[in-house]
C-alpha cells in the first residue's frame, strides 16, 4: 500500500547554524499509529512542524497523501490535523466559535452535526458556549485535539499529547486515539512516556540528535532489542556458582539467594532446559522462578545513551 507520508532526505538547519534534522527518510503507513520517540531536543517537534508547514525544510522532500508539502501545500495540509505540544488557544473565544474558526481555516463549510460529534467524543459538548479561559487544563488539551479534528483530517499529529495530564485523562485519550485509528485516521504521536508508545503504537521510530536511528514494528523492536531474564529463587543460599555453570550467562545475587539467567529471546534455543538440568545435577534446588522481558523504556535508554 502507498504510504500516506513519504519523507526523503530531509535536513533542517536553523539560521543559528544548529542542524535539527539530518537526512531523515521515513514512511508512515496509512492507518497506523506511529510513535516517534526521542529525548528532549532530538528533533521530534521540528520534524512534525516541518511536515505541517510551520518549519521550512533546508533540503529534501515530503509528500503527504501524494501531495508535495511545498508545491502542493493546500492539498497536503488539508489532510492534516495538528495538536501541538503547547496548549495555545484564543482564551476569550467560545469553544463553538474556535471550532468553527479551525474548520473554516482548513477550507471546510460549516457542519454543525460533525462538530457536535467531535465535541461529544471529547466530552466538550456541554462546554460549547463556554469561553476557553474558563475551561480546566484537561479540557483545554481535549479542545486542542477537537480543533485538530474539526476539518476531518486523514492524518493526526499529536505532539506530546499527554504531557502533564493525569492518569485517567491519559487513558481516555489513548482510548480516543484508538477509536480514531479504527475510523481510518493515521496517527503520528511523539511522546516522552515510553509506556505510551508501548501501549499505543503499531510502529516506533526513535530519533536522536536529529537522526532517525530505528524504525521498526513495535513487536519486532521489543523482540529484537529486548532481552529476557529468568530469575530463580534458591532453596538454600549459594556461596558461589559451580564452575561448570560459569559458561552460562548467570549471575548470583549478593546474598546468594537468587540466580539470574539472561537469554536471547529470539534464539531458537533459549538454553533454559539445559540450565535446569545442570542445576539439578549440582543439587541446586529452587523454590520459585519468574521470567521477565525488558520494557521499551530500557530499550530506548540503551538506544539513545551516548556511546563511549
Amino acid at each position: 500500500m502507498q504510504p500516506i507520508i513519504t519523507i526523503k532526505g530531509i535536513n533542517k538547519t536553523y539560521t543559528s547554524g544548529f542542524q535539527a534534522l539530518k537526512d531523515i527518510d521515513l514512511e508512515i503507513r496509512r492507518g497506523e499509529i506511529f510513535a516517534l520517540l526521542g529525548p528532549n531536543g532530538a528533533g521530534k517537534t521540528t520534524l512534525i512542524s516541518l511536515i505541517c508547514g510551520i518549519v521550512t525544510p533546508s533540503s529534501g522532500t515530503v509528500h503527504v497523501a501524494g501531495h508535495d508539502i511545498v508545491s502542493d501545500y493546500r492539498a497536503a495540509r488539508s489532510t492534516i490535523g495538528l495538536v501541538p505540544q503547547e496548549v495555545a488557544t484564543a482564551a476569550f473565544e467560545t469553544v463553538a466559535a474556535t471550532m468553527q474558526f479551525s474548520r473554516g481555516l482548513f477550507g471546510k463549510p460549516r457542519n454543525p452535526a460533525y462538530i457536535e460529534t467531535v465535541l461529544r467524543e471529547l466530552s466538550l459538548w456541554d462546554k460549547r458556549h463556554a469561553k476557553i479561559v474558563t475551561l480546566s487544563g484537561g479540557m483545554k488539551r481535549r479542545l486542542m485535539i477537537a480543533k485538530a479534528l474539526s476539518h476531518e483530517p486523514q492524518i493526526l499529529f499529536l505532539d506530546e499529547p499527554t504531557a502533564g495530564v493525569d492518569v485517567e485523562l491519559r487513558r481516555d485519550m489513548w482510548a480516543m486515539v484508538r477509536r480514531l485509528r479504527d475510523s481510518g485516521v493515521t496517527i503520528i504521536l511523539t511522546t516522552h512516556y515510553i509506556e505510551e508508545a508501548e501501549e499505543m503504537a503499531d510502529r516506533i521510530g526513535v530519533i536522536n540528535q536529529g537522526r532517525i536511528i530505528v524504525i521498526e514494528d513495535k513487536a519486532v523492536l521489543m523482540n529484537k532489542l529486548g532481552k529476557k531474564q529468568l530469575a530463580l529463587t534458591l532453596q538454600n543460599p549459594l556461596e558461589r556458582l559451580p564452575e561448570e555453570l560459569a559458561g552460562h550467562r548467570l549471575e548470583l545475587s549478593a546474598d546468594g539467594n537468587e540466580i539470574v539467567y539472561t537469554f536471547d529471546s529470539q534464539a531458537e534455543h533459549t538454553g533454559i532446559p539445559e540450565l535446569l538440568r545442570q542445576l539439578g545435577k549440582h543439587g541446586i534446588d529452587f523454590k520459585d522462578l519468574h521470567s521477565s522481558q525488558s520494557s521499551l523504556e530500557e530499550i530506548f535508554v540503551n538506544l539513545v545513551r551516548p556511546r563511549p
Binding site: 521550512t56 484564543a90 481555516l105 482548513f106 471546510k108
Partner: protein, 253 residues
Amino acid sequence: MNLYAIRAIYIFEMARTWRTLMESIASPILSTSLYFVVFGTAIGSRIGAIDGISYGAFIIPGLLMLSLLSESISNASFGIYFPKFTGTIYEVLSAPISPVEIILGYVGAAASKSLVIGVLILATARLFVDYEIAHPLWMISFLLLTAVTFSLFGFVIGIWADDFQKLQIIPMLVITPLTFLGGAFYSIDMLPEPWRTMTLFNPVVYLISGFRWSFYGIADVSVTVSLGMTLVFMALCVATIAWIFRTGYRLKT
C-alpha cells in the same frame, strides 16, 4: 482561493471588536469628540476661517485621518501580533491558506473596523460643526485607501513586534507626531520656510491634504500627488509583506 478561511479569519477578528466594543469603538469616538469640543468649539470659535472654512470644519478631515491611521495600525498589528504571542498562530501557518488569503482576512477585518470608526466619527462631528463633502466619491476612496494602506502597515508592525512595547512604539513615536505635524490642525501654507518644505517629506501631509480636498475642494498639495503618495506607500507595504511571507520573517523558522 480558500474563501472559507478568509471568512473564518475575518469573522474571528470582527468578533474581537464586538467583544471589546468599548475600547474598540467608543474610545476613539470619545477622544475625537474631545478634540472637537476643545479645538473646534472652544478654541476654534476664536480662530479665523482658513481658506474660507471655519476652523471647526477645517480640522475634521485631519482628525478623521488621525483616528483612521492609528486605528488601522493598532487593529491590524494587534490582530496578527496576538496569535503570535499566544501561540495560536500555528493553526494559521499549518492551514491550507496562501499569504494573500491571510492578508485578506486580517487586513480586511482591521480596515473594516477602522472604516466603521471613521464613519462614526464623521457622524459625531456633525453634532459639533457643520461641514459639507464636495467630492463624496473621492472622500470614500481616500477613506478606503488609507484604511487599507495603514492596516497593511499595521500588519507589518505586528509581524515585526516581538513584545507589546514594540507594538506601541511606531504609532506613538512616529504616526502621532507625523499626523500632528502633517497639517491636521493647520494648513501647511501657514508655516514659515524652511518648515514648510520640510513638511513635504512627511507622508501624512499628502493623506490629509487629499482628504481635505475631497471635503472642501482646497488642498495644500495637488490631489493627484496625494493619491500617488498614498499608492506608493501602499505598494511599499505590500512589497514588505510579500518579502515577509517569502522569507518567513518572524513567522516561520
